[in-house]
């Protein structure tokens, strides 16, 4: 049992997450497109490659690195049977994110976030509830273009976060930010596909390892 948990940690890319995406995939899904120069957030300047006709272009090399780290982390969390919660407040992709979560066997919350869901969980859900072990944000902003309350709450409750940060988002409190476009349907579909594939891969590997251990 100990071996099962410690073995993946010795490899840098145990779940071979790098094979799931290429730079061309990211470019075709329009992940590099950001918002206009006026919407730029100060802390996103390191991740921006340049500005073309007033529109910010995100550096896809950095995106590749961040995406690989984030997917590797989610895979490890899923391998250890952690609860992953997909949070997004974009109405356009609410259904897509919920279906992705259902397909992985994980959880989603794409509706109105009630105040004490994480911080006051025992009153909301009942005593003995288990909080999520990872929060994934396909879009970090809520409908008023402010950072989602769940980022701050997760930081308060020591829950790691993975989030796609656009040029108008604040990447501060997110543990594994992924600079990239969060508005195009193509980009969000790509992210959902990648997360779904990593989680399913990690869970399959876990089942295989357990089966091998039993023998």
């Amino acid at each position: 049992d100990d071996k099962l948990l410690t073995e993946p940690l010795s490899h840098p890319d145990f779940f071979s997450v790098k094979e799931l995406f290429t730079l061309k995939d990211l470019f075709d899904a329009r992940v590099h497109l950001g918002h206009k120069k006026g919407c730029r957030h100060r802390f996103m300047e390191p991740y921006i490659f340049g500005c073309h006709l007033d529109q910010d272009i995100i550096d896809l090399d950095q995106t590749m690195q961040h995406l690989q780290l984030a997917l590797n982390f989610t895979a490890h969390v899923a391998y250890r049977g952690g609860i992953i919660l997909f949070v997004s407040r974009k109405r356009q992709f609410c259904h897509l994110v919920e279906s992705t979560a259902r397909a992985c066997g994980e959880y989603a919350h794409t509706r109105y976030w009630q105040g004490g869901l994480l911080t006051n969980a025992h009153i909301h859900f009942g005593p003995g509830v288990r909080l999520p072990d990872l929060l994934v944000f396909p879009c970090t902003l809520n409908n008023v273009f402010e950072p989602h309350v769940a980022i701050r709450d997760a930081a308060k409750m020591n829950i790691p976060t993975v989030g796609v940060v656009d040029t108008n988002c604040n990447p501060c409190l997110i543990t594994y930010p992924i600079p990239g476009n969060d508005d195009s349907p193509a980009a969000v579909e790509l992210y959902c596909k990648l997360f779904r594939m990593t989680i399913i891969r990690a869970k399959d590997k876990r089942r295989q390892s357990e089966a091998v251990e039993e023998l």
Partner: protein
């Protein structure tokens, strides 16, 4: 030896309200069901009936006999019902042994409601996809209109019972809007099964009331009876066909019984409405109430009797005109501390 540096004299009180309503364990409910069945058999034995064929109605009758109660509220009287009816259905614990919740929308708080919205939206997308396919193949879209008049959506309370969850008015109205959008699409017939779960039939008013057929007396003249009431007056009317418009009340002519024009107008109103003033004879008996009350009672009785002579459409017209509804107004009681039912005593400043 240990020396306590500071002691709290007040023990921290448990926040009783925070844990929510009392949760019944499954074992408790099972024990209640066993006790109920045993008690049922004892009761049957006591009443001298067969314990095997002792139904809930027999139980109710037995309890009403053994524990007579003069209380007005039926819910306040002693009753013996199956525990599933007594203890409300509850949500059991939503997560398994390892702590992972069962439902994928558990962390939203309102999992049944949001999963319902998710499913309905999925059906909506399905219908749109189907529509696109039909358009791509240049096939005509189906245009069978659903019968909107005969059905209504579930009320908020019914939906709450279905989902076992509290809803807010906003949530409910959003769900109904989504259903309306789904139904408005031309190809919504595909998801008819799903939509029917949330719609209820509203039977047209007429279907409940059975209109009696005409009866014929010795000379072959058609007649029909009707009963009516208003305030404390009770009246029965027999309306005969092939008549001259003669009306007899309690054995006396209508002019002698109702000297006031207003009362006679009330009697004639149903006939005038249907345009059958000189065509029917009427014989009625009335008791109780006052002058106007008796007139109103006879009017209702004659309208009910006329239903048998007339087509269904005209019956619907009569119902909408208010000829067939019992007037519910009665004399309001006088309350203590007031002079009448509404009038208060004169207010004196000092």
């Amino acid at each position: 030896t240990l020396r306590l540096i500071c002691t709290t004299t007040v023990v921290q009180r448990k926040n009783v309200g925070a844990s929510g309503p009392e949760k019944y364990t499954e074992a408790f409910i099972k024990k209640q069901i066993e006790e109920f069945n045993l008690g049922k058999r004892h009761l049957a034995n006591m009443m001298g009936e067969d314990p095997e064929t002792f139904t809930q109605e027999d139980i109710d009758r037995a309890i009403a006999y053994l524990f007579p109660s003069g209380l007005f509220d039926k819910q306040a009287r002693p009753m013996m019902k199956h525990p599933t009816e007594v203890f409300p259905e509850q949500r059991k614990i939503q997560w398994g042994e390892d702590g992972r919740p069962f439902h994928f929308l558990f962390y939203t708080g309102k999992q049944s409601y949001y999963s319902l919205m998710h499913e309905t939206y999925e059906k909506f997308l399905n219908v749109q996809k189907h529509q696109d396919q039909l358009i791509a193949q240049d096939l005509p879209l189906q245009k069978e209109k659903r019968n909107l008049a005969g059905s209504r959506w579930l009320t908020k309370i019914e939906l709450e019972e279905m989902l076992l969850e509290k809803l807010s008015d906003d949530d409910y109205s959003r769900f109904i809007q989504l259903l309306e959008k789904l139904v408005a699409l031309p190809c919504a017939d595909i998801e008819e099964n799903y939509i029917q779960k949330f719609s209820k039939e509203v039977p047209v008013q007429l279907q409940k009331v059975v209109i009696e057929p005409l009866q014929y007396d010795e000379q072959g003249v058609a007649f029909s009876t009707g009963e009516g009431k208003r305030k404390t007056a009770r009246a029965t009317a027999v309306v005969y066909d092939n008549g001259t418009g003669k009306i007899t009340v309690n054995g006396t002519d209508v002019l002698h019984y109702f000297p006031v024009l207003q009362d006679r107008e009330q009697l004639l109103f149903p006939f005038q409405f249907l345009g059958r003033i000189g065509k029917h004879d009427m014989v009625c008996t009335v008791s109780g109430g006052g002058r106007s009350a008796q007139a109103g009672a006879i009017r209702l009785a004659s309208a009910k009797a006329l239903r048998s002579f007339v087509t269904e459409k005209e019956v619907e017209f009569m119902r909408q005109a208010g000829l067939l509804t019992v007037d519910p107004r009665v004399k309001e009681r006088k309350k203590p501390g007031q002079e009448g039912s509404r009038r208060k005593f004169t207010w004196k400043k000092r």
